[in-house]
Amino acid sequence: MDERKQPAPVAPDAVLRALADPHRRQILRLVQHAELPAGQIAASFTLTQQAVSQHIGVLSQAGLLTERREGTRRLYALNHQALEPVRELLSEFWPDALRRLKKAVETAHPRPPKRQP
């Protein structure tokens, strides 16, 4: 048996909930291209370090952050893969709208019944 823990798959809703906070999105932007320690992340906010730690915890639980230990420091980075399921959901936004458009147009402009040859 492989004893290594696989990261649990995170439901898109959990990711969305994690994203539903401007501070957390700001954290993601900070670590989008660079690995940063918690202290440096916290320094970018007027929030208490504890509050920032909580936000980091929510993001980690949603799988949005990867964590790496370096000595006594923990370094965080954006886990781009975690956005994939949500990205797929986004792909439904415009198709749903266009389905409504189709219904609206076709209801307002019904085709006359086709004449039989």
């Binding site: 898109p12 809703d13 959990a14 990711v15 969305l16 909930r17 994690a18 994203l19 539903a20 401007p22 999105r25 700001q26 993601l28 932007r29 989008q32 909580q54 915890g57 929510v58 639980q61 781009h80 956005l83 949500v86 990205r87 797929e88 959901l89 986004l90 792909s91 439904e92 936004f93 415009w94 198709p95 749903d96 709208a97 266009l98 389905r99 409504r100 458009l101 189709k102 219904k103 609206a104 147009v105 076709e106 307002a108 402009h109 085709r111």
Partner: protein, 154 residues
């Protein structure tokens, strides 16, 4: 209907049983656009003219870039006050192509960054709430924090 995402570009297509001349005003006439998207619209369909769509708690705001009836319309799309999806931050281009008696609608949404894409979601009534989340205006009640989040918040 199909949709795909390539490099942060969303392409959605739909065939409609009406000619482009009938479909086009649904992207430029405030009374018609709200029959399929949004609740209230302020539209000035000329290049540089305002494109504003009130979708409940969120207003998508931008400007028309191209208005070429009845085949092509493009507008910028963003949310005022949103740092992730600011007005002008992304563009929506709609191309209407005659297809027999009908119209092939191809909608391309460009300029969405990965983090923004992660914050959109759809499905309509239900998904609109998630779009609100996307744009940083908070979510509807059903998006209350999970037990895990509540534990964290303590």
């Amino acid at each position: 209907m199909t949709a795909e995402i390539r490099n942060d570009v969303i392409v959605a297509t739909e065939r409609i049983e009406a000619p482009p001349e009938v479909v086009f005003p649904y992207f430029t006439d405030p009374a018609l656009i709200v029959t399929w998207i949004g609740d209230l619209a302020e539209l000035d369909p000329q290049a540089g003219g305002v494109f504003s769509l009130d979708m409940g708690q969120v207003t998508a705001h931008g400007a028309y870039i191209t208005v070429d009836p009845p085949y092509r319309v493009a507008f910028s799309w963003g949310i005022p006050g949103s740092c992730t999806l600011p007005p002008g931050g992304s563009t929506v281009e709609v191309v209407l192509t005659p297809d027999g008696d009908g119209t092939m609608v191809v909608l391309t949404h460009r300029g969405l960054r990965a983090a923004d894409i992660g914050t959109h979601r759809a499905g309509w009534e239900h998904r609109l709430g998630l779009l609100r989340v996307a744009v940083g205006l908070g979510g509807p009640e059903y998006l209350t924090p999970s037990a895990a989040e509540r534990r964290h918040a303590r």
